[in-house]
């Protein structure tokens, strides 16, 4: 069953994300992908944290050939409306149906702080653009020879404050045609449930983003990121663990267990530690 069809089912959906290699050696990418065979779909990030890597589209095509169902992440950061539409059409030509449309981390967060932030279209405009292409027209109103079909996702941050503003943006993105959401990382299932109850919408699936805390150092890095809220008890567990990775795996699987009670699914961000995802899932 395709991801688009699964979104219409009652299945608890599980996705994860892979980042492309920095360079042209894809062997590690493929090894990491193998741990994700049983998942419903696999996201490929688009120059995440505004740092340069091989393109998401190329890696999605490779995943597709290997029998995975990829989700192409497209940010509005690096391309103008000509390149964005072209990328969407290219995805369709290559058989990639799922796209996650996000604004993308600002260049100042990455390796090239002076890079020009493009944002020619904002997220809402890009979501609508994908839907316009499906009608057989482009943004300039020109007719397309063959129109694409997409399964369109977007992001929402359950931890942003003021929280109600994210609820409004969720609704706006639904009105713009979003079929599924993958959230920014959460660590507190109860807090997430309060948000989830506010945004619950028929026919729109929301997958809670969770991150594997692989080390104390990584947790410290995460805490510096905007909107990341790690409860004290989880911090203590990681900080006092003899084996922080094993503890992180446990925390992840406990979180998934809690989420299975009410959430539509989870989106796992293991950041290079995808080999542990099967273990996390078997414990949940």
């Amino acid at each position: 069953m395709k991801f688009k069809e699964k979104l219409k089912s009652n299945k608890f959906l599980i996705t994860a994300e892979l980042f492309p290699p920095k360079g042209v050696d894809i062997s590690s990418f493929l090894t990491r992908a193998e741990s994700l065979r049983e998942l419903d779909a696999v996201n490929v990030t688009d120059n995440q944290r505004a740092s340069m890597r091989t393109g998401s589209l190329a890696m999605c095509k490779i995943l597709l050939e290997k029998g995975f169902e990829p989700i192409l992440q497209i940010t509005a950061r690096d391309r103008n409306r000509i390149a964005l539409q072209s990328e969407l059409l290219s995805a369709s030509v290559l058989g990639i149906e799922n796209v996650l449309i996000i604004s993308g981390d600002h260049p100042s967060a990455g390796e090239y702080p002076s890079a020009k932030p493009v944002y020619d279209l904002d997220v809402l405009q890009l979501l609508k653009t994908a839907r316009i292409l499906e009608t057989g027209l482009d943004l300039a109103g020109k007719k397309l020879k063959g129109s694409p079909q997409f399964c369109i996702g977007a992001a929402v941050n359950p931890s942003a404050a003021p929280n109600d503003l994210q609820v409004l943006m969720f609704k706006k993105k639904v009105l713009a045609g979003t079929e599924f959401f993958q959230t920014q990382t959460i660590f507190d299932a109860a807090q997430y449930k309060a948000f989830f109850d506010k945004i619950k919408t028929p026919n729109v699936k929301v997958l809670a983003g969770i991150t594997l805390l692989k080390s104390q150092k990584f947790m410290q890095f995460l805490q510096k990121l905007p909107g990341v809220n790690i409860p004290i008890e989880i911090q203590t567990r990681i900080n006092s663990a003899k084996d922080p990775l094993a503890e992180g795996i446990k925390i992840c699987s406990e979180l998934i267990k809690d989420l299975k009670k009410f959430s539509d699914g989870v989106h796992i961000m293991a950041i290079g530690m995808e080999e542990y995802i099967p273990q996390i899932l078997s414990l949940s």
Partner: protein
């Protein structure tokens, strides 16, 4: 007003390589309000030049350098300007280009033009002079300018306690807009509104 800030000494001196004398034009308009063409700034630049053996033939303070006709009229009567090969500007980029439109002299910028802004004690960018004003839809706050991602239909997920993820000392433009929308009962309209790409 146009907000200006002084370039680094290093950059100014690099652009003056090979020069032994300059004529200075300081703008008493926006640059003075930016504290980049006031008495102190002029003294600072004068010392920088003398420390590097560059003579100043004259310092001409003009009301608004960008008022081209007036500027041209004054400078055409100034013999030091006529003799000068190189002109140093304590003005915004418009002032420099106004003089460049009637003079073939070497023109050197001391200031960077940062933004169109309102006059207040702490300057921040307010307007990008984009030619497509959307303030009627955004409660008088410009997200094209004040959001680093120029998001016109709502915020990203990066605001933390109302602050921008890029610079935690700055308010998220969309949180400011949201607070005003709430006060003005505009939230329902906001959900259903959509600003098309320009």
């Amino acid at each position: 007003m146009i907000l200006t800030v002084q370039k680094s000494d290093k950059e100014i001196l690099k652009s003056l390589e090979g020069e032994s004398a300059v004529f200075i034009i300081a703008c008493a308009g926006c640059a003075v309000k930016s504290n980049t063409a006031d008495k102190q700034s002029i003294e600072y630049i004068s010392k920088l030049l003398s420390d590097n053996n560059i003579k100043i033939s004259e310092i001409e303070i003009l009301g608004s350098v960008c008022a081209k006709q007036k500027t041209q009229e004054i400078l055409s009567k100034n013999t030091n300007f006529q003799k000068a090969k190189t002109i140093l500007f304590l003005s915004c980029g418009t002032g420099i280009q106004a003089v460049g439109s009637f003079s073939d002299k070497r023109l050197i910028a001391v200031l960077n033009s940062q933004a169109i802004t309102v006059v207040e004690s702490s300057y921040s960018k307010f307007c990008s002079v984009c030619g497509d004003c959307i303030l009627s839809y955004t409660q008088g706050i410009c997200p094209k300018t004040r959001c680093p991602k120029s998001l016109v239909n709502g915020p990203c997920g990066g605001f933390v306690n109302g602050k921008c993820e890029i610079d935690s000392s700055k308010d998220c433009a969309w949180v400011l807009i949201y607070e005003k929308l709430k006060k003005n009962n505009g939230l329902d309209k906001f959900i259903n509104s959509f600003i098309e790409p320009k």
